[in-house]
Symmetry: D2
């Protein structure tokens, strides 16, 4: 992921320093475990831990360069690291990595990194949830038009719209918790997972210390269905970001103007057109969602490794591991800020709601006719006729509102009273179940109607 869309806090998880720190931790813990079961002299385990801790604490660019130098010859990254580590530790280093295979280190490290990344993403999601809840409560009673097919449907509240997004992000949070649990496993099981040269208790020891589960059966590697499920989960979350971003883009369009991204003083919307204030954050989020989503396919293709493993997954994960988590972290963080600062225009919402002359109340009038015994077919015909007449002549000077048309229709007049029409065309009826919905989503009803 390019720096433009990278937050340092997530990038640090994927930096070499963190990776080598985790690699060492795995090796040191494994040696400590083996010292308990007799495979490694306790004194050697202690030396490994102490000298290794010191080397990692002092880790510098020179160490990086030295490891790279060794890798250039051996063409094997773990061997390069172990060789460097041996230089730091001395003779006791022969008890490092004992009976282990590279993937024991690599896959367990990836598990730790993905768990760290998940924790950060969970914080991001919490920030999004907090912003959505605050704005949902703020606008619980803000009337706005609900739209299906981008056509005015019936009134709703802007807070309820946000509550729906909150509910989706709450689901996304649950999914990420589950996905984190999926990938948080540890393998210290040797070349093909048989524990031929390592005690299974060492695996359990390392796993427990790292906050992971022991992988029930690793082959040479931790099976990649776990990672596929993880990246698919990120893709689902990204799609939720897109849904909210698209909503904001629609709301900001010139003809709607019900909400706007915050526009910074000094900001320029366009090099050529000084009047522009564009929803560039939400558009950017839409693109980032495409990127994060795109990583699901190669992650799925990674599952079917050959036999006990092939290494085709590696180049994929070296890229999508950082890219997907960094991209999603940036996007969630941007989204939270954007929603916190979103400028909302309730007056414009109301103006738009009323902009179609009241036809948005056609559904309730239809029901009222049904209540008066008119067949569904006839009622539909009558209401549709009046709604279309209203809409077609909206811009015309002699255009009449929906209510005026209804009042003038003899098929209505004889059946529905003025009071009933008043009730049917009162937008507030669409807010009456808000408490129910809010309780379902937030566990509390939120602010009472003003």
């Amino acid at each position: 992921m390019i720096p433009r869309y990278t937050r340092p806090v997530m990038a640090a998880i994927w930096a070499p320093a963190n990776r080598y720190r985790i690699w060492f931790e795995i090796e040191a813990l494994a040696a400590e475990a083996m010292s308990l079961f007799g495979d490694v002299p306790p004194e050697s385990a202690r030396v490994i831990r102490e000298k290794g801790d010191a080397a990692l604490a002092a880790f510098s660019d020179a160490d990086l360069a030295r490891i790279d130098e060794i890798e250039a010859e051996t063409r094997h990254d773990v061997i390069a690291f172990l060789t460097w580590l041996a230089e730091k530790i001395g003779p006791d280093s022969r008890f490092v990595h004992l009976g282990m295979t590279s993937s024991d280190v690599l896959d367990t490290c990836l598990a730790v990194q993905l768990a760290q990344a998940s924790d950060l993403l969970l914080e991001d999601l919490d920030a999004v949830l907090a912003a959505l809840k605050r704005r949902a409560f703020e606008h619980k009673h803000t009337l706005t038009i609900g739209r299906s097919h981008a056509i005015h449907a019936e009134p709703t509240s802007f807070g309820l719209k946000l509550a729906g997004h909150y509910a989706e992000f709450a689901r996304n949070r649950e999914r990420l918790v589950a996905a984190r649990a999926e990938i948080a496993t540890c393998a210290i099981s040797g070349a093909v997972g048989t524990f031929a040269h390592v005690d299974p208790r060492a695996e359990e020891f390392v796993a427990e210390r790292l906050g992971l589960q022991a992988e029930p059966v690793s082959t040479q590697v931790i099976p990649r269905d776990r990672h596929a499920a993880f990246f698919c989960t990120l893709a689902v979350i990204a799609s939720g970001i897109e849904r909210l971003a698209v909503e904001v883009r629609h709301l900001q369009r010139s003809e709607v103007r019900e909400a706007e991204e915050f526009f910074h003083p000094g900001q320029k919307g366009s090099s050529a057109m000084p009047h522009k204030r564009n929803p560039v954050l939400s558009e950017n989020l839409t693109g980032l969602a495409r990127l994060v989503r795109s990583h699901a396919v190669p992650a799925l293709e990674n599952v079917a490794l050959w036999h006990e493993r092939d290494i085709s997954h590696s180049s994929v994960e070296r890229n999508i591991g950082p890219d997907a988590t960094i991209g999603l972290d940036f996007a969630l963080s941007r989204l939270a800020g954007m929603m916190e600062k979103l400028v909302v225009y309730p007056a414009q919402m109301l103006a738009n709601l009323e902009g179609l002359g009241g036809v948005v109340h056609s559904g309730e009038v239809l029901l009222e006719l049904a209540r008066q015994g008119v067949s569904r077919e006839d009622a539909y015909r009558i209401v549709q006729r009046n709604a279309m007449a209203t809409w077609t002549n909206l811009a015309s000077p002699e255009g009449r509102s929906f209510r005026e048309n209804l009042d003038a229709d003899p098929e209505i007049a004889g059946r529905v009273s003025a009071e009933a029409l008043d009730r049917a065309t009162d937008a507030s009826r669409h807010l009456r179940a808000l408490d129910t919905s809010f309780v379902r989503v937030f566990g509390e009803a939120g602010p009472a109607a003003p």
Copy 2:
């Protein structure tokens, strides 16, 4: 999905008869619920239930044709169904669909269908799990070579390989249970989800009767992140099928021949080459996995519907709903049968294991040298030299086995005893942790060593 890859039991879930049956059930339950809360006369709810039940029970091609005829005019499938239903029910039909929107019916129906499909898929997974467990136990102690990079690595057991696949399918089962819960929600909330014309208790009533949860906030529709997560889960399962299928394809290749798909009497492998017995089932499963996986992307693209909904998701789901579930059902069912009948050749497994002259024991020899105080670097160099010499001259008449080369190497001779080399090159050491792995996967150790 084409008939070739369709099992009737899954196809029936997606047939019009089942859909209309569910639609009616939703409408009838909704009317019953509303009769409890005063919106529908109880007598009307009873008439709707009775006459509707009778109409659906007698549902014939003529009814299908009538609905199609109405839809050709109204261009709306739910209205067409309701009009047909009204013809069957009579005047009380005006209390059908009261205050509801089409998506209340469509989305709740889709939830029921996906839940039904999930139940079938769970049965399929159980059959796969049963077959894998039986064969894993059968071959718990069958020695075979483990391979990484398709290169012989170290010995393992064929049963352990199958146990690994079992563990993956057990995870897939858990994932599907979670995904089923995700999509099993009900919406009876009206045009934009505000319950403007319908009591939220009606939604809860219908949900409970159908075995669903009430959707916390539906817009006009049940939010599509649920479906995206569901189809992603199917994609992950499909990838697990692919992994096992690819394994079988490898095992059956002419040079390996460790296992073979069952070949039916009368079966012909090739129109031109009568000698052929091809792994066509596992190849077919590989292709089906690609198909099922391909549905994840459009499902993810469906999430970002506009405002309270647009209908772009509909054409996607009308296809991938059946295609993904039918394809996966067929694939899992085929996989279960294939694994049940897989012909396994333990003798060939052993022959292959021994085919590289014993170099597959290089790892343990390396460790033995380390135990004798040789540095990792030196030990690696010594063992690699002997292994490469063995391998390079495998086909040569004067080629020596790995053990013979080790015995002749002065750097080994002075350090490692013959007994230690015996132990290091004994394949059975790779089976010693089988019980641990089996208990982890199956909760029981399975058969003892023979």
Copy 3:
């Protein structure tokens, strides 16, 4: 592809009758070719042709059932067909399929089917192009607002917008012509493409008669990069459909209403809201685009077949072959009709264009200031200030138009004359290059300004 989105003319290409007709044609042509080169007795080739033609001409459901019956035993579709054919032809049938392999028939047939499908799709594209050209000429001078980021940018013409889509579909047509050429190849080369049992001239003979090219090197199969490129091309075309569909959806939204899909008499937009007229065709096209696009990934995954072939591609192609071509044919056909009948509202376009008080002319005013020697930085600041003031107070009673604000701004007044401001805020300047653009796209300028 479900019947709902299937046109019979494309479905017929994928029907068994057409497939068996093509299979026979390949076999008959191959026998005829071989009779020229001495491998088949000419009289046998004649009998094969005559009896086979007769059998195919009389092909009935009974034949289908017979072939299915044989396949149930042999588990091989081509052998089943050949056995049925032998029953029809008699002893000369032993010269059918001589030295050929099943894939020679299957892959060459697929090439013919995809070529036939392409021809139909090219007709579809021509219909789309014709509709777009007609409407582009009709609305060449219809002023409308151009939008970037869904924010009003500068005026353009609705005809020019359509011309851009025309240009894209013209590119798509070229791409399809190229893709058609890619997949129109023939393989009659035997089990692994070595012509071990068949003369290469037979391949050339059959290819020429079928309007195909001989495949330079087939393995057992025609290489799948050709098909991957083909399905990717369909995906690109589908994305072009989506772009136009999304445009229409935007134009029809309630607050914009610049264009509308034709609404049939009797059509019902919503079961619950009689006032609705929804852009359901373009939303449907958006979904179909996702479907067609989704086939690109499995087609790409099909490329890396093992060695001379594995059959994993087959189940994929049995589905995506029909699905992608039928889906795209339906979508293009629907798109052509939709664009032909699109209801356009020029008055509303003009009203929207003027709806922001003239700020859409900010760019030209900026340039005018630059021409008067004001630095870019200063000019930007001045114009932005006036534009924002206009926009912010649009709905206010004392709100002023952009021009009024400019006139009142001392930093403008001293520098730009009223005449220059008249010119700068005249929308017609945005139409002055229409002829250039139209000539580029259509090869002709189209109608002159009215």
Copy 4:
């Protein structure tokens, strides 16, 4: 793309220095063009060119930092660059970017970068083609077994296998040439593509100087179907890499060992198993292919921008532009080297070919029986029986070869002469059409049989 898979030569194309150089070139050329048509004073155009050239020639990190600083305030990258440029050029800078919009610069620059990248990729492809041709000629007559379904089918030559891959890469080269032409267009057309403030001749001038075509109709942007087609083409090429990589991985597997990647002195295959020589390059290429392929989906999703443009494509392209081209460049370069150095084992190929006791000649024996008047059905049954008997008893001491079984079968003996069986089981017949195939692919037959 991470540095591990990045070649500096491709990375340089995407570096800021190159981007700013191109941006300036576009601006300078536009100013020069406008000076020809009267919109810019010739002297100003000259100053812009001279001072700008000087500034870019001296471009340093300080300039980068200054641009970043301005962007931090304006939140607009092009404006930041133009402001920096103005600081370098002075008052004449007000004639820079005159009547243009940011996308004129951005999109034209992207076209130049993608064209540059394409040129590099074409060189890469040429290197792959050269390696494949050399090795194909080298091994034109090297007998090897052809495999379908990974089961021995019939003999072929290793050179012919490589020729098939050559043919695919030759097609990929043609596709890339076409894709390069697709994206090499220039837009200098203003805010919504109407040339409202810029002469269309300026666009043609800039296009011609940059080696591009003028875009027939740009909206605000160059339409993204061009880019989608481009990235799809890269995906198809990547899939071709995967096909060849998978072939090498199969050939190197322990039981096949027909070819091996070059193993460097000092290289270590495994940290735990010193005997390992793994096909890590081809496995890596498999993974890189997945990555490059994954960029096709977001590129396709980028097509349907809203109205005259939204900026959602931007974040996608900022990533996949470099990632896809850098990844593919690295992969092709690696592939060329790998194929140049591939170690081929003809003796092992022959041993494998003969490993199944001669059953691979079943097809020709089948044909011979047919020539003797045996029906296809009977002939198949006879040959299948003997082939299966041979194969089943391969490892048995009393196992007989296919020929021995045929000789002992009374249904064969009476019909096919020993000489005919000799001919039928002679592997060299599978090489007889090599010249034809080579001429088709390479335009020349290559070396004669030794």
